[in-house]
């Protein structure tokens, strides 16, 4: 590709006549096109320096230069246009993209606004109306002339997307209306945005001019005039309805009617909310924070060293196909390529998987999803590696794509694995469910569907691998359990584990998505074959394709109660999509079923769950691990039964809540310090039950849900923790722990527990984490188990370590050790209030021999082994107050309160972060996120269509409280915080929506179409 900067417009025009030439102004749309796979032009003609960029007011017109950036347009304060510009992309993109570029692109949200204002374009071929020019572009665009609308005109602009801001456009509408003598005298209406061709609604305009403005007439005329545009995300019917309503509402509603609902004026502040202000000296700066803010945090994907090669992975070309042959000879012959690996280079077991080893490191004979790794290359640079990938010839024999998990269970379905498509089937019967249903006063039933949520960690999977001088292989890739990654690599390589070192920290987010192996097998094989350090990081598009996702579930749930609201029976049938490989999905399904009764007494229960292979990507662990999916269904059922009985949601729950000390879901013993009743009392007293005030577009509603979240891996899997305290030669107290810092605050938590237990300062403690060569196997950084492990390391190792330190100090000072204690900075004398210690840790370290205390301990379990059952639980009550738009069917969460009880808080900032972040991730699950698949291909290939919550999607007010006490004698310390925040956000929102609109959503993310249909009933 060449770039030319013509010196004049004539020069530009003749260059653009060359074949393969393309004009560029800001360039942002071009980059998007290339990412979608459009070919890069041979010649880029840079128009930017030639285009005027000013905004000039000329009498009753405004002239906007084609080079004017969209951000400059937003800031110009122009009627309609500046508001429209504010909804195009985001500021960082708008400062690059130009008005001319967006018009030249022929799509985008700005066009309907320009069309409504009767804009004309000035081009090298003369002046034309914009509405004509976009149909038949001619000449280079130089500027846009926009008549200033008369002051009496009522203007409307609205963009509807998949989330609140910076969103792909579903439809954008603009309108301008002037009325005289109660009749519409001037009217212009336009639509555009996304898949909708930009156009004026001329038929509707003609129909409505001269008539009196009336809501029904307007909605009818506009919706008939709209083009029918479908897309995978929203239907044509939805676009019609929303456009008609948004235009009608904007033009006819009384001024100010569209404003947001406000909380009641006297809403009491929540004095118990966790925050820096409220907690004073319990609030500490996390040790990782300065480096993260400064951009110096050492992510494993950022390491470079001389001679380091770049690795790339060749993914499957079909979602389901036999491989007939792979020819890598051309790739190997490509200059700059140092290694090409295929299944033939796998020395050991060509399979991995945490539960079942069903996923090939590199596919040999079959591919089962588009993310399957077929080959990998290491080359001198990225471009060479990419070229080498394109030279690998794979001969495929495509097979039918298995898409629907229920259809996959039928006998005539194609088989994803030779063993059949049913991965696992689980279930139990307790009591006599049929009799329970027979005697019921009320029965509610629905099918709850949950999305294929993507973890969306900002740092995609990656890292580096190299053979170290001593012959061991170092694999440094962000992960969640280094020792298990090492075990899996040792199987693949056929190497003893001792010859492999795995570094897993730090990593840029994981949420369960880095629990399974990701790029480690390819990296290891490339480093061994090339005998050079190799780095590899997935692009986002590749991560979307290859990475594990949350298992979508269809949960059929039937629940019965008597006339007084006492639960009698429940039946649960889950079909879960595993995608192509099992990974941890069997555990996810099992956990979902364990939470099938929630925190309620259900005397008669029948559960069944089936996990099914398909060619829909691959699924595995994700924060919540099945519990949040099941809690969504259970807590919605409870609210529906409450409504059927005429009980309020609190009373319904109170009548059915388990009592402390009752057996758990499988009959297992459960740890003390249950706080469900306290959570329910807090929910009952919540200010959020007061309705939002206001009227007009928005309907308000409040809902709640309880969460009883199991912690740890359960009774069946091996589950141990370990750690070590050590006085290092430089005087730091090192705490060694095999868990990983993924952002959750492991390092802050380790410094907190050790400082608290020993009496030193947090700054005296140095965490050493996530490295199999340096840290013990503390188990996985999953399942809300880290909090206990961290606390237990200090609890178990602290006293012994302290006595070693004090004994040494006694020897050095001659003061008896019972008169000494550890203080910030070193060891001091009891009763002496000296600002500095008698002996600093550095002084001690200089004379100390090895001062080390190592501990290993089991994660607390029940002794139940007939099924996998949790012993430790954390409780929460979530309240949501929502506003639902009558115009778009979209939901805004005005208030979200998370009342949590997870024992003593180890580190306040980390705990608060887990709750807040989990909650907003839960809102994504509820409102916007789903990797929809068609023929095994994701319909959301990147973050342009996969809509994680942005800053405009968050609750206006988010409050987190923590009830920290434990029962007297409870020996189990802090409960897990990682999954509590996400666990019950979904049902709280759904129950609030039900109160607002009278229908309870069962399909996540909530479809605005459904909301509008309910509102129209």
């Amino acid at each position: 590709m060449r770039v030319v900067q013509p010196s004049c417009l004539d020069g530009a025009l003749s260059l653009l006549d060359e074949p393969g030439a393309k004009a560029i102004a800001g360039g942002t749309a071009l980059q998007l096109d290339w990412a979608r796979g459009e070919p890069r032009p041979d010649l880029l003609v840079n128009l930017a320096p030639l285009l005027p960029s000013e905004i000039i007011h000329r009498g009753d017109k405004v002239e906007i230069g084609a080079g004017c950036t969209l951000e400059a347009l937003r800031l110009a304060g122009l009627p309609l246009l500046s508001r429209a510009a504010a909804d195009v992309a985001a500021p960082g993109v708008r400062r690059l993209g130009t008005v001319g570029g967006t018009i030249g692109w022929g799509a985008g949200d700005l066009l309907p606004a320009l069309l409504v204002l009767e804009a004309s374009v000035v081009t090298t071929s003369g002046v034309a109306m914009l509405r004509d020019w976009i149909v038949q572009p001619n000449g280079l665009l130089l500027s846009v002339q926009v008549p200033v609308p008369p002051p009496a005109a009522r203007l409307v602009w609205r963009k509807v997307g998949l989330r609140a801001a910076f969103t792909p456009s579903i439809i954008a509408v603009a309108g301008a209306m002037t009325c005289e003598d109660g009749k519409v005298s001037v009217l212009s209406l336009a639509v555009g945005g996304g898949a909708v061709p930009p156009s004026r609604l001329e038929d509707a305009e003609a129909d409505l001019i001269g008539r009196s403005p009336d809501i029904g007439t307007f909605e009818g005329a506009i919706s008939t005039a709209l083009p029918a545009v479908d897309c995978p995300f929203r239907s044509a019917a939805y676009r019609r309805r929303v456009a008609a309503r948004a235009l009608t509402w904007g033009l006819l509603a009384p001024a100010g009617d569209g404003r947001r609902l406000e909380p009641p004026r006297r809403a009491p502040g929540n004095s118990s909310a966790l925050s820096r202000e409220n907690e004073g000296d319990r609030w500490h700066i996390r040790p990782d924070m300065p480096g993260k803010v400064a951009g110096t945090w050492p992510y494993l994907t950022d390491l470079r060293r001389p001679g380091m090669l770049v690795g790339r992975i060749l993914r499957a070309a079909h979602p389901h196909a036999r491989i007939r042959g792979i020819d890598v000879s051309a790739a190997e012959a490509c200059p700059g390529v140092r290694a090409v690996v295929t299944a033939q280079d796998v020395p050991g077991l060509n399979a991995f998987g945490i539960v079942l080893q069903d996923q090939p490191a590199l596919c040999a004979d079959k591919v089962r999803y588009l993310g399957d790794a077929v080959a990998a290359v290491a080359a001198l640079d990225d471009a060479t590696a990419e070229r080498a990938l394109s030279l690998i010839r794979v001969d495929y024999d495509p097979l039918p794509v298995v898409e629907d998990p229920e259809a996959a269970l039928l006998p005539d379905s194609a088989k994803v694995h030779a063993t059949g498509n049913l991965v696992t089937e689980l279930g139990l019967v307790r009591g006599e469910p049929d009799m329970g249903f027979a005697s019921a006063a009320h029965v509610v039933e629905d099918i709850y569907e949950t999305p294929r949520q993507m973890h969306g960690f900002l740092e995609t999977e990656g890292g580096y691998a190299e053979v170290q001088p001593d012959g061991t292989l170092l694999v440094a890739v962000g992960g969640q359990h280094g020792a298990r990654d090492r075990l899996q690599l040792s199987r693949i390589l056929g190497w003893p584990e001792q010859r492999i070192r795995v570094v897993t920290s730090p990593t840029g987010g994981a949420f369960g998505g880095k629990d399974e192996l990701t790029v480690q097998p390819a990296l290891a094989l490339l480093a061994l074959k090339s005998r050079a350090p190799v780095r590899l990081q997935l692009s986002r598009a590749e991560s979307v394709l290859a990475g594990t996702k949350r298992s979508p579930m269809r949960i059929r749930m039937r629940t019965a109660c008597d006339a007084e609201g006492h639960l009698l029976a429940q039946e649960v049938d889950v079909v879960a999509d595993a995608g192509a490989y099992a990974s941890l999905s069997p555990g996810v399904l099992e956990t979902a079923l364990e939470h099938a009764a929630g925190p309620y007494v259900v005397p008669n229960l029948r559960t069944r769950g089936r996990l099914v292979y398909t060619n829909n990507g691959t699924c595995g662990a994700f924060r919540g691990f099945g519990a949040n999916q099941m809690t969504f269904a259970v807590e919605c059922q409870i609210d529906r039964l409450a409504a059927a009985c005429g009980l309020d949601p609190i009373e319904m729950r109170r009548r059915n809540l388990r009592s402390p000390g009752m057996p758990g879901a499988l009959g297992q013993v459960v740890a003390p310090s249950e706080r469900l009743r306290e959570m329910l009392d807090t929910a009952a007293a919540s200010p959020l039950w007061a309705p939002l005030s206001g009227q007009g577009e928005w309907l308000g509603g409040t809902g709640m849900a309880l969460m009883w979240q199991g912690n740890g891996l359960g009774t069946l899997p091996h589950d141990e923790g370990a750690g070590e305290l050590r006085l290092s030669p430089d005087g730091a107290i090192e705490v060694l722990c095999g868990l990983d810092e993924m952002g959750q605050g492991l390092m802050a938590s380790l410094t907190s527990v050790v400082a608290d237990r020993l009496g030193c300062a947090r700054g005296d403690v140095r965490p050493v984490i996530g490295d199999t060569a340096r840290t013990p196997d503390s188990g996985s950084t999953t399942a809300s188990r880290g909090g206990f492990v961290v606390w237990k390391i200090a609890e178990a190792a602290g006293p012994t370590f302290a006595s070693k330190v004090l004994a040494l100090s006694a020897r050095l000072t001659g003061i008896s050790d019972d008169k000494l204690r550890i203080v910030p900075g070193g060891v001091g004398e009891i009763g002496q209030n000296s600002p500095s210690p008698l002996l600093s840790f550095a002084e001690l370290a200089r004379v100390a021999g090895p001062l080390v205390t190592t501990v290993r301990f089991p994660f607390p379990k029940a002794d139940y082994t007939k099924g996998n059952a949790r012993f430790i639980f954390a409780s929460a009550a979530i309240l949501a107050r929502v506003a639902v738009s009558r115009v778009t069917g979209q939901i805004r969460v005005a208030d979200l309160h998370l009342h949590t009880a997870a024992g003593p808080v180890i580190d306040l900032a980390s705990y608060l972060g887990q709750m807040e972040g989990g909650a907003v991730q839960g809102l994504g699950f509820t409102l916007t996120e789903d990797v929809r698949m068609a023929q095994g291909r994701p319909l959301t290939p990147n973050l342009d269509t996969y809509a994680m919550p942005g800053i405009r999607d968050i609750p206006d007010r988010l409050v987190v409280t923590a009830l920290e006490d434990l029962d007297p004698g409870d020996p189990y310390g802090p409960r897990g915080a990682g999954e509590l925040g996400i666990g019950a956000v979904t049902p709280a929102v759904c129950n609030a929506v039900a109160q607002a609109v009278g229908g309870s959503p069962a399909v996540m993310p909530i479809r605005p179409e459904t909301i509008l249909e309910w509102l129209d009933r």
Binding site: M1, V3, G27, T28, Q31, L32, W34, A35, E71, A86, A89, A90, P91, G92, V93, R95, L96, A165, F166, S275, R276, I285, R286, M289, P290, G291, V293, A294, G295, Y299, D302, R304, G456, F457, L458, E459, P506, T507, G508, G509, S539, R540, M742, G743, G745, A909, G913, E916, G917, A919, V920, Q921, N942, L943, D944, P949, G950, I951, I954, L958
Partner: protein
Amino acid sequence: MIRFELNGRPVAVEASADRNLAALLREELDLRGTKLGCQIGRCGACIVLLDGEAVNSCLLMGWQVEGRRVTTIEGLGAHPAGRALMQGLTEENAFQCGYCAPGVVMSLAGLLAGEPDPDEEQVKAALEGNICRCTGYHSILRGALAAVRHQKDRSPCL
């Protein structure tokens, strides 16, 4: 050869016409504070300042910055809002995994340079293009507003 000013110093770098600025910074100029999260301008991890204004460096081709001024997270120390941002975001523990942080910080630096006393609404508007998957944004907002207060404390003439 592309020549521009990077964090106050002139640099010259060879790059093909379609190489984006983010890749140039990370791979040729050894500044890996700038992150790539999506490569299509939809996450904001790569945001840098171009002539003082926050832009997505993955959407800019290297040649487009010829002769211009680029500031990355590595240049934050010399930015007028740098100290206030470091202090405010750090004390509120604004981030978790931190991978979005460089982009968020640079978006805020661009905002504070042009608008020394932004309110919460302006902060939200400035961060519309930055995706954070860990925090749910409230801690970032608290940190940004703390930074605004620190900046005001430092400039009594405001």
